[in-house]
Each structure stands twice: as structure tokens, then as C-alpha cells.
């Protein structure tokens, strides 16, 4: 429907823009910024409560970003379950009859849960953390769902909604508590950083796993106009 000339002109335009962008990156690469941020980060790492710098940035130095990012996730999950329609949780086409797969899964699921727990725990001093662990948790859930295991806790209802915001709520309360104690918003009291970061991460892992899984499970499967609600 669109004419070939339009295609060609768009193509040329994008190539030109890409070239300009490439030139900009090239020029910036030749220019030394002399940033002192990495050094600053190293100097303050000890005070952050965790040894892994990425976790320190995410949950201490720039924790407000992370807080808002969880909010973004919660929004997506909310819109997702607001569109969820009744029978999505008992989709018969999803149930596998393969006995071998089911048997395999019996071993696989605990293993994956263990891996998620490891990732969470590792986050304090080496790569890993709440997001990776949460994603692992969600992946486990996806596998369970694909083999037709019941996931009743994902039924839209109060319980699901509490699960979605659990991590976020704890994060927020810690932020408020530190502000009331006279520190800045979201500042951890000295000495408690590590404990607080770990407990926030644990609940975040659960919530993130649940959010991602809810988004997968609640994807609309039919055109029913009234969504189901667990309780009214």
C-alpha cells in the first residue's frame, strides 16, 4: 500500500541517522571524560552494606530508581490481570500428557527453585540478585504451567494482589522508616544496611517472580467482556 519511493526514502533517512549516530559515538569515544564515578563508587562500597558493586548501586546508591522500576513492573502486572479473562487458568490445551516430561519436571522444579535461591543469596557479593532470581522463579512457574500443574495462587484475587506488591511495600516502608528516623528518604540506618537489603531482595524476588508469572498466565485468551475476580 505504501509506495516504493516511501520505503526507499525511509531507508535512506534511517541509514543517514544511523551514520550520524555512529559519528557521534566515535567522536565521544575519542574524547576522554575523566569520570570519577567508578572511583567514588569503590570508595563508598564498604559503606553500602554489600560487596557486589552492581547490587550496591541498585539497592543503595540509586535505590529510588529501583523502587520506581518495581512500580513499573507492578503497573504492567495490574493492567495484565485487569485484562485477564475467566478460563485462562484452566486452558486444557496446555496440559501435557507426556509422562516422561512430568517425571522430568518433578526433578527440575526443585532444582530451579534452588538455583533461584542461590542467585538471590549470591547477589550480595557476586553476580546475581533479586531480578535474576525473580526471573528464575518466574521461569519455573512457566514450566509448571506448561505442563499443566495447578497454579491456584495466580487466580486474580486479593492474594495475588498482595503478592504483587509485597516486595514493593517493604521497600517503601523501609524508605519511610529511615526518613522518620531522621535520615534521608530510602537511606538505611548504619549497620542495618545488609540485613535490610537482603530482606528487601528476598521479598522482591517473590514479587518479581509473581509479577512476571502473572503477566504470562493472565494473557488474554478469549474475548469475554467481563473479567473474573476472585472475590467481590
Amino acid at each position: 500500500m505504501r509506495s516504493p519511493t516511501a520505503y526507499v526514502s525511509v531507508l535512506l533517512l534511517v541509514i543517514m541517522l544511523t551514520a550520524l549516530l555512529g559519528r557521534a559515538v566515535w567522536q565521544l569515544a575519542a574524547f576522554d571524560s575523566g569520570s570519577e564515578l567508578p572511583r567514588l563508587l569503590q570508595n563508598n562500597l564498604a559503606a553500602s552494606g554489600v560487596e557486589h558493586p552492581v547490587t550496591a548501586v541498585l539497592l543503595n546508591f540509586r535505590s529510588y530508581d529501583t523502587l520506581l522500576e518495581i512500580a513499573v513492573l507492578v503497573i504492567a502486572a495490574m493492567v495484565g490481570i485487569s485484562m485477564a479473562r475467566t478460563r485462562s487458568l484452566e486452558d486444557p490445551e496446555l496440559r501435557t500428557a507426556d509422562a516422561l516430561l512430568r517425571a522430568l519436571l518433578r526433578w527440575f522444579v526443585p532444582l530451579m527453585l534452588l538455583l533461584a535461591a542461590y542467585l538471590l543469596w549470591a547477589g550480595a557479593d557476586r553476580p546475581g540478585g533479586a531480578f535474576q532470581a525473580g526471573a528464575m522463579l518466574a521461569a519455573t512457574g512457566v514450566l509448571m504451567r506448561l505442563t499443566g500443574m495447578p497454579l491456584d495462587f495466580l487466580r486474580p484475587g486479593l492474594l495475588l494482589r498482595i503478592g504483587l506488591v509485597l516486595g514493593f511495600a517493604l521497600f517503601l516502608l523501609v524508605g519511610l522508616a529511615s526518613a522518620i528516623a531522621g535520615e534521608a528518604f530510602l537511606a538505611y540506618p548504619p549497620g542495618l544496611s545488609k540485613a535490610l537489603i537482603l530482606s528487601i531482595e528476598t521479598l522482591l524476588t517473590l514479587s518479581i517472580g509473581m509479577i512476571l508469572l502473572a503477566l504470562f498466565v493472565s494473557a488474554p485468551v478469549n474475548n469475554a467482556s467481563e473479567p473474573e475476580e476472585g472475590e467481590q
Binding site: Q132, A135, L215, F216, V221
Partner: protein, 92 residues
């Protein structure tokens, strides 16, 4: 030198999978290629000494995004094959 060549190869692979993911006629294949792209990105992050990102990219970028998209694609197919009218019946 050999490392640099590997990087170059990886960069080329990224670009070509990206192009293939968009150009592929079949949506299902496009998504599969996209998942491959996500995995290559994870390797990229390893090369950039960002293991956290590698983990996250493999789990979230490739894994979960891929599952979501694959699920959607298979759904479109089912919707197309046995039609929307059958679903209208289910409503009653």
C-alpha cells in the same frame, strides 16, 4: 587479536540475527531468532565483563520475553485457524 576477531564475529552475528528477526516472513521463526538474539546479547555482556547483565539478559531478555512472545504467536495461530466465531460460541 584472536579475541578481537571473536568480538567482531559476535557483533556481526548480533546484527544479522537482529535483521533476520525482523525480516523473517514467519512470525514464529522471527520470535525464535529473536530469542537467539537475546542469547547472543548475553554472550556480549559476558564479553563486556557484565555477568549480572548476562544473567538477566538470558533469563529475562531471551527467556521470559521469548516465552511471552511465543505464547502470543501460537495463540494468534490458533485464533486464526479455528476462527473467532468459535470463541463467540464459548461465550454463552
Amino acid at each position: 587479536m584472536i579475541e578481537w576477531l571473536l568480538d567482531l564475529l559476535l557483533a556481526l552475528a548480533l546484527v544479522s540475527t537482529a535483521a533476520a528477526a525482523l525480516l523473517s516472513r514467519d512470525l514464529f521463526r522471527a520470535v525464535v531468532v529473536f530469542i537467539a538474539f537475546g542469547l547472543l546479547m548475553a554472550v556480549c555482556w559476558v564479553r563486556l565483563q557484565a555477568p549480572d547483565l548476562a544473567l538477566a539478559e538470558a533469563a529475562i531478555g531471551a527467556g521470559l520475553t521469548g516465552v511471552l512472545l511465543l505464547d502470543a504467536v501460537s495463540h494468534f495461530r490458533r485464533g486464526n485457524s479455528h476462527g473467532l466465531e468459535s470463541q463467540a460460541e464459548e461465550e454463552n
